[in-house]
């Protein structure tokens, strides 16, 4: 599985856009990029998944440049309830049997 690197923490104010960049320099051709969110004392929750370019859903957008060596999760107009740990995971469909979480990025949103 490709190694990922993301910031340990990010602070933001309500209403701002939060962008979390994940580096995955050794991403393989068949790898997909997936982001999960975890609130305190809860299980992780799937946010978004992509392979290239841009993916958008009702929660977030995922930007993946052409070389795919990094990806950026964009959370538009965050609220206090978006305070959570965000994990970037990279892997192929064959590896979906297990999710390998790193330390993630702690996002703290303040008023």
């Amino acid at each position: 599985l490709a190694k990922t690197t993301q910031p340990i923490s990010m602070d933001s104010y309500e209403g701002q856009e939060v962008n979390i960049t994940c580096s995955h320099n050794n991403i393989a051709t068949n790898d997909y990029i997936t982001w999960y969110q975890q609130f305190p004392s809860q299980g992780p929750r799937f946010i978004i998944q992509g392979y290239k370019t841009k993916v958008t859903n009702e929660v977030a957008s995922l930007f993946i440049p052409a070389d795919r060596k990094s990806s950026t999760l964009s959370l538009p107009r965050v609220s206090l309830s978006d305070t959570a740990v965000y994990y970037c995971l990279v892997g192929t469909p064959d590896s979906w049997g297990k999710l390998q979480f790193g330390a993630g990025t702690q996002v703290v949103v303040t008023p």
Partner: protein, 115 residues
Amino acid sequence: EPEVTQTPSHQVTQMGQEVILRCVPISNHLYFYWYRQILGQKVEFLVSFYNNEISEKSEIFDDQFSVERPDGSNFTLKIRSTKLEDSAMYFCASRAERGLNNEQFFGPGTRLTVL
């Protein structure tokens, strides 16, 4: 919206005792998982289960651990003789099918405290 449920929410046990953590995955899902998260640490994969057998397990999942799907709805994790270091949050997850969608649905977790 369907969800994964887990019981109990909190289990306190004495070292050396057996515990069984229970999970009810989403009903039409085929793949089941257990993860654990020691306080302040990352989420760690324990085991995956498909077609009534273990498909993959981590180094953490030693002989003290076992999983079972005793009926069509429950999925259990048994720890035969608990150790202090087994204290953690245990999450059950399920997934509909193998494919390009990497979405696993996690339960709320069971907090296991070993004294």
